[in-house]
């Protein structure tokens, strides 16, 4: 037993939880914590970002790409509020994160003291739970509980607010064994599994759909075995990209607003829709009334509250999705749906869909992302910002591993990707990490370029520059009579100079024929140092297919006329 300050207790608890990397930014209310981090610097690597938002996204990217819980530290007041977007992003995508914020001393709480905000109040709707610790004797157990909550069941962010005096006061500290993560819900019963198996056995045209609830090699292997056993075609949500190897012939492409026409046709014609580790986001289902019109829906998920929320299901199994699939694999004999798979293949041929640039020889984003895929053997971790560039990154890179695509699916946070890429690279120093950014998103948090160069974090920042807020422009074109209000950026930013100013080697790609060569060179440099690439594309390349919000998922738009 040791008598430690609250700040030291925080460091000890982080080590106890297996944390070796944290992201954050110092300030008055966390002076004691940073003083302690100074002592613990050999065990806890602290990455200083340019902005707390960047740190929160880094903790998120670290968590998604490692499967561990990400940790971010910020000071009270503005430090804490700067985390809000990052916490909300993690919450929407069920990412395990522990945010530790400082606050004013207990005696100053509630008095509108300098840099005081009620951060537990502010983050209540965007955390799984949050705590304020007003007794140093409860600090260690509260932090342990925070990690337990973040990593259990449906994962998510937890915030622990620690007033400054608590970090200075002392308490006895003893290490405790880790509390294992649990599923946290009443689990399915065996007869429930049996009924699911019966449904699958009697299906003639099953559709297997997966989401972000598939984790790691075990999850991916199990899913593959399951898909083969039940002989179903597979599609994923944006969050589920890579949970099923996209180079596998069973894979139909993404489902949803920018999903493939093949997946849409399959939805229209399937008789059993099996959703595994996924929620039915409105971006996926379109109009719920016309979703999978002839199918029974079987939903397998860890969160009971997702059952019947957006789509009424026929049967559900509550539990860890990999676990449930393993149980089903044991009791289902090999199925065969040759005709059905044949029809899928035919649709795939019929509906090949891609739009070329409007001018000859200009670089297309499709070509760019496919070249990136080729040069990285489809093995890079791809972070994204939000917009058209995000969708191209999702559509044209063939992911092979769960959570290989690190993207803000639920909140759609522009400014997410660079921070997330920093976190992903810190957690995976041996992997190539690329952030695919739109020019609009890039300008939101480009300050984190300096984090790349200062700490020499060799991330590839790939800006797809169409000079517009492309995704919004696409909607304005389709639904607002081409009134391009505030979406034409045409900013004078010189990306080469900007990169150099931050100490980052920079490249420009402006034609299809030089794309591969420059990209290869940039990737080579990125083995030891960060790089910035500006890839110039046409303003009017649209993301296709597209299902307008609330419209039937089965009838995507396949072509958009550009006549201006």
């Amino acid at each position: 037993m040791r008598n430690l300050t609250g700040a030291d207790i925080i460091c000890e608890c982080l080590i106890e939880q297996g944390v070796d990397t944290v992201f954050g930014y110092p300030g008055g209310a966390v002076l004691n914590i940073y003083d302690s981090l100074y002592n613990y610097s050999d065990k806890i690597h602290h990455v200083l970002t340019a902005h707390e938002q960047g740190a929160s996204h880094a903790a998120d990217g670290y968590a998604r790409s490692t499967g561990k819980t990400g940790v971010v530290i910020a000071t009270s007041g503005p430090g804490a509020t700067n985390l809000v977007t990052g916490i909300a992003t993690a919450y929407m995508d069920s990412v395990p994160m522990v945010a530790i914020t400082g606050n004013v001393a207990c005696s100053l709480l509630g008095l509108d003291s300098f840099q005081e905000v009620d951060i537990t109040g502010i983050t209540m709707p965007i955390t799984k739970h949050n705590f304020i610790v007003k007794d140093v004797n409860k600090l260690a157990d509260t932090l342990r509980e925070a990690f337990y909550i973040a990593g259990s069941g449906r994962k998510g962010p937890v915030l622990v607010d620690v007033p400054k005096d608590i970090t200075a006061q002392k308490a006895e500290f003893v290490n405790k064994p880790l509390k294992p993560y649990t599923v946290n819900v009443t689990m399915h019963q065996d007869d429930c599994i049996a009924k699911a198996a019966e449904l699958i056995k009697s299906a003639e045209r099953p559709f297997l759909y997966t989401g972000g609830g598939i984790y790691g090699d075990d999850g991916a292997k199990t899913l593959k075995a399951f898909a083969e056993l039940i002989d179903a075609p597979v599609s994923s949500s944006l969050m589920g990209q890579g949970s099923f190897d996209e180079t596998d012939s069973r894979y139909m492409g993404m489902l949803g607003m920018h999903g493939t026409k093949t997946a849409a046709e399959a939805i229209k014609n399937c008789d059993l829709f099996i959703a595994v580790g996924t929620r039915f986001s409105d971006r996926v289902i379109g109009n719920p009334k016309t979703f999978a019109p002839d199918a029974k829906v079987l939903h397998i998920d860890i969160d009971p509250a997702e059952i019947n929320k957006n789509i009424k299901v026929y049967h559900q199994v509550i539990g860890d999705s990999t676990d449930v699939m393993k149980k089903l694999i044991k009791i289902i004999p090999q199925q065969s749906h040759t005709d059905w798979i044949g029809r899928i293949k035919a649709w795939e041929k019929q509906y090949e869909c891609r739009q070329k640039g409007t001018e000859e020889l200009t670089l297309t984003p499709q070509h760019l992302i496919e070249t990136l895929d080729k040069l990285t053997n489809g093995e890079a971790l791809i972070a994204t910002e939000v917009g058209q560039s995000q969708m191209w990154a999702a559509q044209y890179y063939a992911y092979k591993h769960p959570h290989q695509l690190i993207t803000s699916g639920g909140l759609g946070t522009m400014g997410y990707g660079l921070g997330a890429a920093i976190g992903a690279k810190c957690g995976n120093p041996d992997k190539t990490v690329v952030n695919v950014a739109g020019d609009g998103s890039f300008h939101m948090n480009l300050n984190e370029l300096v984090t790349l160069s200062k700490h020499n974090i060799p991330v590839v920042e790939l800006v797809i520059n169409n000079n517009v807020l492309g995704m919004v422009r696409q909607w304005q074109r389709l639904f607002y009579g081409k009134r391009f209000s505030q979406t034409t950026l045409d900013r004078p930013t010189d990306y080469m100079k900007l990169g150099e100013a931050f100490g980052i080697k920079s490249f420009v790609i402006d034609s299809e024929d030089k794309c591969e060569e420059i990209l290869r060179e940039a990737l080579e440099v990125s083995k030891t140092a960060p790089v910035l690439i500006e890839a110039r594309i046409d303003k009017d390349i649209n993301v296709l297919p597209m299902v307008p919000a609330g419209k039937s998922i089965t009838e995507p738009i396949l072509e958009i006329e550009i006549d201006d």
Binding site: T120, K128, H129, D303, I307, N308
Partner: protein, 157 residues
């Protein structure tokens, strides 16, 4: 079909817990008709009785979302329960109204808890429907101010 449901929720007895529960209702658009909360036999736990409106789907969601809150240990939609509500009200529009008001109070076994020149203060505990009709009958005599606790309820064994 939209229905009123009585939900019994056991929560940790701590700061901010009420805010977590009501916050969930407001952000998901669930309508609270009444909410009543106090300590239980177990000092660490409070029981909330919430009357909420919604069809079957809404109620299913509401219960599941409540169960996800860390501070919530039990959620039950009550079907066969003893429901009670308490009311305190000021009634009367002058000395002439006193006698008829007392008569109605007696019929309902309500108590007169204060007598002022032109009105009485009454108190009554009972099923919510009984409280409603009590108020209805007193309406002609001038209901000045009233406070209802909202329903508290326990399921029958």
């Amino acid at each position: 079909m939209t229905e009123r449901n009585v939900i019994s929720v056991c929560v940790n007895n701590g700061i901010g817990v009420l805010g977590r529960v009501t916050g969930l209702f407001s952000r998901r658009g669930y309508n609270i008709i009444s909410l009543n909360v106090a300590e239980t036999e177990n000092l660490g736990i409070s029981r909330m009785t919430i009357v909420a409106e919604g069809d079957e789907g809404v109620m299913e969601q509401l219960v599941k979302q409540l169960r996800k809150l860390y501070d919530v240990s039990e959620v039950k939609v009550l079907r066969d329960a003893v429901c009670r509500e308490h009311i305190i009200m000021k009634v009367g529009n002058g000395p002439a109204s006193r006698q008829p008001v007392i008569e109605i109070a007696n019929l309902f076994r309500a108590k007169v808890v204060n007598v002022a020149e032109s009105r009485l203060m009454l108190e009554l505990t009972g099923e919510p429907e009984k409280i409603d009709s009590f108020i209805g009958l007193l309406q002609p005599y001038g209901v000045k101010e009233l406070v209802r606790t909202g329903i508290s309820a326990l399921e029958r064994d």
